[in-house]
């Protein structure tokens, strides 16, 4: 491409930008072919894409907590249960309710992946009856359900040491049935399959169990529900988002063909990123499902900068091809810089201890590069090859020159208040940010009214708890778990935990040992205690286990080698911060008793992951800022500009903190993404403004004229892209994954404020004091020639 006299700006573009567009102009078909190949490569990864909505999606394989859990699972099996709650406000100890419980117990055994069912009716009770000692279900299916018998069972159940708060509510109106899933082994149990069958079961029970209310909860429900809402959210949000993109892009460009070009890149980027995720082995989780949404925002930004320049340039450049080349050339440097800064923003996630966030960063940074490649290899050739999107289309959105002049004059005049305002924002934002708590409740990730959340709340109010953490206590040698001294210390720990205010029940082998001893001693209540010698304990245990039916053995309470015990703590603790405190206290007490205890379990894993949030956040934001400043220094070859560029980009941190504080929301795995994601994107505004400012200055314009130029073209594109991005993230308020609702609002707010800061703070900082009052003379005729002509179109955006 030779330098056109009609395009005098061209000489101010960097050489690599000119070389790139020259190649594009010379071999547009080859470029298109490359674009299609890149697209095909990305898409081919879609087949490899896998999803993991379980706890495993959040933890790196080397994570010590995950390894603790694996050790626990190896010893005691899975702690995942599908839980059905049955409620009858009139009480459950009547023939109809008990028959229903029998039927449910029986049907739960038939659920796929379930290897054990614990219910009120099949609870294996050791007791003495005359000369016989028996281990029998509390209410056997064969039992005659006479009124006397049921009253007797109610009395036994409600005064039992273990049952209330575990399998029945203290008032006898609600019962829980636990269906334990098989251990993971080679493949993890299929939560979706379990949940589908369980829902079917509950639906059938609802038909015949009139007068009863049912709830379905438990870890498989959590996993399946995460997957379902992720799918439902994407199905709802993505079409909405694409529609909004079409409308906004059309409003700005006023050309149907340009909208089509943009959408080609946007849709292929959004799909392509999932393909890249497949190639990179990134799994879909509640977190990574946001990828297409991010990518739509990023691709829109790339396309809009090119297309806005193209449409505005058409005013003075009637030749479509020349206008396209100008737009492509002008945007090479800023879009490349923003691509790299955004990619750095994302790649900095990879240091996160939360696996899915690390993976999100990896896939998103690859996606950002993909979006840029597609912008130049698809959009570029399309603009150059296809004869559509010409000047005959409507008048694109633009800013009249007198308005840009007024704006710049105004900005120069109010330099001090603007700078003071920004300083105030820093103060308020830092204060608010320091007040934000790190907290989460996996159940509260679901919006109010979600069946799972309803169920958990109903159980919390009835039986007491559907949340459990697990404690593995290792005795150190085979058969040592039957040592009376060891067991007494475990018993002390158990009682200490049971005395905690939010603990509803603690289950352990100790309960069974005491009950067996009492039964062997003709029901003497004084013998509800641990025996004094190991052989007595071992024989009492043997007695108890000999009476247990299939699937109800105690191998989930004591290891096969009898070298470890398991305590299950049923508690009401919902917030991760409180859970972490309680866990620390339990560990402390166990250590005081000289017990080698490991607190674990799926629920504890979910809670503990939150403790990684701050570390993840600080390291990723820190690394991103460091890398981005270095890059900006290299790109602008000016230390001053690089330093200035960083300042407005404290906005995401400040607004993020302020927003969380104002919304009374906590920092958690969902909301922490706000700052990290918006940081990489918000810096784009700064880069576009400063890069264009620097270019125009080099043309010999004054700072003031340069800003007028920036507002005229780049400003319009920035307002349009910011609007699209605000919509892109803002639509998350419609998500069912609660952290994303907050994320949507905050991200939109951050991007809006970031643009306002960039458009006011940067000029305020860079405009010299005196220039506001006097009109400097244009130093370059070239600039005047290409300045956009007066137009009646007002500037409605932002």
């Amino acid at each position: 491409m030779s330098a056109s006299p009609l395009d005098p700006k061209q000489h101010a573009h960097p050489r690599f930008a000119r070389s790139l567009t020259r190649v594009l102009a010379t071999y547009p078909r080859l470029a298109l072919l490359c674009g299609v190949l890149v697209m095909a490569f990305a898409f081919s990864g879609l087949a490899r894409l896998q999803a993991d909505f379980s706890y495993a999606g959040y933890f790196h394989e080397s994570d010590t907590w995950l390894q603790d859990f694996d050790r626990f699972e190896d010893t005691f099996g899975n702690d995942d249960s599908i839980i059905i709650a049955v409620q009858n406000t009139e009480g459950l100890f009547n023939p109809a309710s008990i028959a229903l419980l029998h039927a449910l117990t029986d049907e739960m055994w038939q659920l796929p992946e379930v290897i054990r069912v614990d219910s009120l009716t099949n609870y294996q009770r050791a007791f003495a009856e005359g000369d016989d000692i028996l281990v029998e279900p509390l209410i056997a299916p064969s039992a005659e359900l006479s009124a006397d018998f049921l009253t007797d069972r109610e009395e036994i159940a409600l005064s039992h040491e273990t049952l209330p708060g575990y399998l029945v509510s203290p008032d006898g109106t609600m019962a829980l049935l636990f269906g334990t899933l098989r251990p993971s082994g080679e493949t993890a149990p299929d939560a979706a399959k379990v949940v589908a069958a369980a829902r079917d079961l509950v639906a059938r029970a609802e038909e015949r169990g009139t007068g009863h209310t049912f709830h379905l909860v438990g870890a498989p429900m959590l996993v399946a529900s995460f997957a379902e809402i992720a799918e439902a959210d994407n199905a709802k949000i993505i079409p909405l988002l694409l529609l909004a993109c079409v409308l906004i892009i059309f409003a700005v460009l006023r050309s149907v063909w340009c909208v089509v070009y943009a959408m080609v890149v946007i849709v292929t980027s959004a799909l392509g990123v999932l393909g890249l995720a497949g190639w990179l082995g990134v799994q879909m989780t509640s977190i990574t499902t946001v990828l297409p949404q991010i990518m739509i925002g990023v691709a829109v930004a790339d396309c809009l900068h090119i297309l806005v320049t193209y449409r505005l340039a058409q005013k003075d450049q009637p030749d479509r091809k020349q206008a396209a080349l100008y737009a492509l050339t002008k945007n090479v440097k800023p879009t490349l810089i923003t691509t790299v800064t955004t990619a750095i923003g994302f790649i900095s996630f990879s240091v996160s201890d939360i696996k899915t966030i690390a993976e999100l960063g990896l896939a998103a940074s690859a996606g950002v590069v993909l979006a840029w490649l597609l912008s130049y290899l698809l959009l570029g050739p399309l603009l150059l090859l296809l004869p559509f999107g010409g000047a005959r289309a409507g008048e694109p959105m633009r800013l009249a020159p007198e308005r840009t002049k007024t704006l710049v004059r105004w900005l120069a005049a109010y330099r001090k208040p603007i700078l003071a305002g920004f300083a105030a924002l820093i103060l308020v934002g830092s204060f608010a940010g320091s007040q934000v708590k790190i907290d989460a409740d996996p159940v509260a990730y679901f919006t109010e009214g979600h069946p799972l959340r309803n169920g958990v709340e109903a159980i919390d109010a009835g039986v007491g708890s559907a949340r459990n953490i697990e404690i593995m206590i290792e005795a150190g040698c085979a058969d040592c778990a039957k040592d009376p001294d060891f067991l007494r210390r475990v018993d002390t720990l158990e009682q200490w935990i049971e005395a905690r205010s939010d603990v509803v029940q603690v289950l352990s082998i100790v309960d069974f040992l005491k009950a067996s001893r009492r039964a062997l001693n003709d029901g003497d209540e004084n013998e509800y205690r641990l025996a004094d010698t190991q052989s007595v304990i071992a024989q009492e245990l043997l007695f108890y286990t000999m009476g247990l039916p299939l699937g109800l053995s105690v191998d989930n309470r004591i290891s096969t080698q009898s070298d470890a015990l398991r305590l299950t703590v049923m508690w009401r603790v919902s917030s991760s911060s409180q859970a972490l405190q309680e866990i620390a206290l339990i560990e402390e007490e166990a250590a005081r008793l000289g017990l080698d205890a490991t607190v674990t379990g799926k629920y504890a894993l979910y809670q503990r992951q939150e403790s990684y949030v701050v570390g993840s956040f600080l390291s990723s934001v820190g690394i991103a800022l460091l890398l981005i400043s270095g890059l900006l220094w290299m790109a602008f070859r000016s230390f001053k500009l690089a330093a200035i560029a960083l300042l407005p980009n404290m906005t995401p941190l400040l607004i993020g903190g302020l927003g969380l504080w104002l919304l009374q929301e906590n920092l958690n795995v969902g909301t922490v993404l706000v700052v990290s994601i918006t940081l990489g994107i918000a810096i784009d505004d700064t880069v576009h403004i400063l890069s264009e400012f620097q270019r125009l200055k080099r043309l010999g314009l004054s700072a003031r004229q340069a800003f007028e130029g920036v507002f005229a073209e780049t400003g319009v594109a920035l307002c349009a892209t910011t609007l699209v991005l605000m919509v892109a993230f803002g639509v998350s308020v419609f998500a069912s994954f609660a952290p994303y609702q907050v994320f949507g609002i905050l991200a939109a707010a951050v991007l809006f404020v970031a643009l306002v800061v960039d458009l006011t703070f940067l000029p305020a900082l860079l405009l010299p004091k005196d220039e506001g009052r006097e009109d400097a003379k244009p130093k370059s005729a070239a600039w005047a020639e290409t300045t956009v002509a007066p137009s009646a179109t007002p500037k409605p955006s932002s």
Binding site: A140, R182, L520, S535, F543, P549
Partner: protein, 261 residues
């Protein structure tokens, strides 16, 4: 055609000669299992040392006991198991009276507790001392306890075996169906498959190291390996040679079995 093959196999073994009338019905599953039962009975009062190794996820634990078995002609076997290891259950003894209807009776002697207790054994499906064997897997095989549905020849690992499908009829079972693969040379099972009520193949028992007693008339396996496919665990039971030096018949009763050690 399968009938022909099984007839030929039967002829080859030569054992059919004793029971010619039934030979014509050899493909009848109940007859096959009756023959199988007959060919393992005959050690009327025997004793063996048993080592049970339970292996779950790479870690294993061992239990040892001495087993006394009394075969009865008109009811199920009577068995006394006396534990010798682990040390804390040494001397614990279990007496089982298998019943034809599956409603077995059990007594437990706990020396440290100092008592003999009758155990409710309505739970036939329960695991035997934490192993992958249920009581019902170890209970004596009685034709009355099952309903037989089919028999056919099956090729397993290059060998032709007799496959018999049947289902328990007693209450408290953990299985919906069973499948045995018998070695046509001695009619003893080399593999049993256990199916739960979901129709899933949940456990497999491999029986090997068959030895014959009584001049080739009585066949007994000396190694049993049970695999639980859901839990991924295995239990191996190995028997010493069965000896006829058992204990007095009268000791197989609730008030005398504590004398056996």
């Amino acid at each position: 055609m399968s009938t022909k093959i099984s007839r030929r196999t039967l002829l080859a073994t030569g054992v059919a000669a004793i029971t010619l009338p039934r030979f014509a019905l050899a493909s009848n599953p109940e007859d096959i299992m009756r023959k199988s039962r007959e060919m393992r009975r005959g050690l009327t009062n025997s004793m063996a040392d048993v080592t049970m190794t339970i292996t779950a996820r790479g870690r294993s634990t061992e239990r040892k006991m001495r087993q006394y078995v009394l075969e009865t002609s008109n009811s199920g076997n009577r068995v006394i198991n006396v534990f010798s290891s682990p040390a804390d259950v040494r001397g614990v003894s279990v007496l089982t009276h298998s019943a034809l209807d599956g409603n077995d009776q059990q007594w437990l002697l706990l020396p440290s507790v100092g008592r003999v207790k009758r155990i409710s054994s309505s739970n036939r499906s329960g695991a035997f001392v934490g192993s992958d064997f249920a009581y019902e897997d170890l209970s004596s095989f009685e034709l009355e306890k099952f309903k037989f549905s089919a028999a056919a020849n099956a090729s397993v690992g290059g060998k032709t075996l007799i496959q018999v499908d049947y289902a328990p009829t007693y209450s408290g079972t953990g299985y919906a169906a069973l499948r045995s693969y018998l070695d046509p040379s001695h009619y003893q099972p080399v593999q049993n498959h256990y199916f739960n009520r979901r129709g899933e193949h949940v456990k497999t028992l491999q029986l090997s190291r068959y030895k014959s007693y009584g001049g080739g008339a009585i066949w007994r396996p000396h190694l049993l390996v049970m695999t639980d496919h859901a839990k991924g665990s295995t239990t191996q039971i190995s028997f010493s040679t069965f000896t006829a030096t058992g204990t007095a018949e009268s000791n197989f009763s609730a008030n005398r079995f504590q004398r056996v050690s």
